[in-house]
Symmetry: C2
Subunit: 138 residues, 2 copies
């Protein structure tokens, strides 16, 4: 498929797709050139783009992805090293999830407070006091 089609299918811009190639995130299995020098993308390219988006969504940089994918493609690292990378990534995500849970708790408390402000001023007052006394203990 040509670049515009891939762009449509991935939701990325053609600029971004060419940028990813320039950054070394694609290889010959993903892009070839036609006689007219137009890029011709395989289905593997589509899969790779999806994978990149997914990993990017959880905070991986393109640099990191490039390393991992190159690795995945050429098997330069030992299986042990791959296992270690995956494990540390899992830890990282789990830490991040805990952060999110903490923020969720905070936001839910904030929400409860603002709803109380509307319906139950006394409760709101009580919550405010409770929150202030927490300020310096966390």
């Amino acid at each position: 498929m040509k670049i515009q089609e891939l762009a449509d299918k991935t939701g990325l811009s053609i600029h971004t797709i060419r940028y990813y190639e320039k950054e070394g995130l694609l290889d010959t299995r993903h892009v070839q050139r036609d006689n007219n020098n137009y890029r011709n993308y395989s289905d593997a390219a589509l899969e790779r783009m999806k994978l990149i988006k997914k990993f990017q969504g959880i905070g991986c940089s393109l640099m990191e992805l490039k390393d991992i994918l190159k690795d995945h493609d050429t098997n330069t690292r030992s299986n042990q090293q791959v296992i270690e990378w995956i494990s540390s990534k899992i830890d990282e995500i789990e830490r991040k999830k805990e952060e999110y849970d903490h923020m969720l708790a905070t936001l839910n408390l904030m929400l409860e407070y603002h709803i109380a402000l509307e319906n139950d001023p006394e409760k709101a007052q009580a919550m405010l006091k409770r929150m202030q006394s927490m300020q310096h203990t966390e």
Copy 2:
């Protein structure tokens, strides 16, 4: 306290702290000037820095934080609007958490596969087949 002390207590650089001020994330309750024009930070500044770091950790931009905090400070928005903002933020974080869960599942599968490669080649082979048949169904 002076800027270096705040930097030490927050883990931010003095450059970053001044940058935050320039970007409008602090006001007179956080910073005042001494006679010699040195900045003098209150404990509120410390709290604010912590808050910024927390929200930034879950993907809020400084711009967004500026809006929220300005809001929080001056009460320009109605309580209803604040409730809506908090609710949408909660939704956002919950979506993000699901993404993380999905990635965790993927990574755990990858881990299991690589461990099987070491100890149980047959299992690894079976997993590979299973994963390949999943490729085009998701």
